[in-house]
């Protein structure tokens, strides 16, 4: 399986690998996985009170394309507002990394991870507001 230079670059030097405190009300965590390949991907965002993503971390156990997709996603997320972050599409990741058709599902997983991290953050904020 031939990987593109960008995939290799991200897989060998992944950006933003790590963990944010998932109990922190300003942190949203997305945990997703593709049973067909046995991949598991965690993506976390830390959001300022102004709604801007100030930090993003990921941890992925999977193939090079899955690692590269989530690594790229964290790079793109930093500095964006939540609304901007939501517009990131898996096809953007495919284009940037030159993913072959058999690896498109890795980018789908990364988009899923972004969305569930945002979702988790919003749910936390809503329940916080509800508690007053």
């Amino acid at each position: 399986m031939a990987y593109s230079d960008k995939v290799i670059e991200h897989a060998e030097n992944p950006r933003n690998v790590g963990t944010l405190d998932k109990e922190d009300p300003n942190v949203g965590t997305g945990l997703v996985g593709a049973p067909a390949c046995g991949d598991v991907m965690r993506l976390q965002i830390k959001v300022t009170d102004g709604g801007v993503i100030e930090d993003a971390k990921f941890k992925t156990f999977g193939c090079g394309s899955a690692i590269a997709s989530s690594s790229l996603a964290t790079e793109w997320l930093k500095g964006r507002t939540l609304d901007e972050a939501e517009t990131i599409k898996n096809t953007d990741i495919v284009a940037e990394l030159n993913l072959p058709p058999v690896k498109i599902h890795c980018s789908v997983l990364a988009e899923d991870a972004i969305k569930s991290a945002i979702d988790d953050y919003r749910k936390k904020q809503a329940s916080r507001r509800a508690q007053g």
Binding site: G33, V40, R42
Partner: protein
């Protein structure tokens, strides 16, 4: 895909006595071996060869328990596909196992302990598959759904084991 259980002439179930499938594969391969067909007409010889190939394929599909479980699901039109999503509880468990394995790098005793944990989980999920397919009569919808969930888990545990193998090389 053809039914590998039918090809090997064994019942479509999950549990087999140790060596059973191997014995069946050996017997069939011997009977189909080209040396036994040197005096047969060309048509028969070719058929024996084709059958030998499908017997090998069927054996490969059935000798590994995970692949056997997937073959059983396939008989009922079920499979784990791209685009399927894993349940959150499983993902949390697997993430923790994989992070623990990462931290156990170069610590053989810790890797061995994690392997034991995963082996117990594999045995538990295999017994779910066995419950669905080893009993008399066809599995019902509930059995099948549980067996499919078990196969998803088994795939994740298999990836863990592969990773542990790679670490110990």
């Amino acid at each position: 895909m053809t039914d590998p259980f039918a090809t090997l002439g064994v019942p479509a179930r999950f549990t087999f006595a140790p060596g059973d499938l191997e014995q069946r594969h050996r017997d069939l391969s011997r009977a189909l071996h080209p040396d036994r067909h040197v005096h047969s007409p060309p048509g028969e010889r070719r058929m024996a060869l084709e059958r030998a190939v499908s017997v090998n394929d069927a054996f490969r599909a059935l000798r590994d328990p995970l692949s056997r479980a997937q073959a059983l699901l396939a008989l009922h039109g079920l499979s784990v596909q791209e685009g399927d999503r894993a349940p959150a509880a499983l993902l949390m468990e697997v993430m923790e196992l994989r992070e623990d394995l990462d931290a156990a790098r170069a610590k053989p005793a810790r890797i061995a302990a994690l392997r034991e944990t995963v082996a117990a989980r594999v045995a538990a999920e295999e017994s779910v598959v066995a419950r669905a397919f080893d009993r008399e009569g066809a599995p019902d919808a509930r059995d099948l759904a549980q067996a499919r969930d078990a196969v998803v888990k088994l795939r994740y545990f298999r990836r863990f084991q592969e990773e542990a193998d790679a670490m110990e090389e």
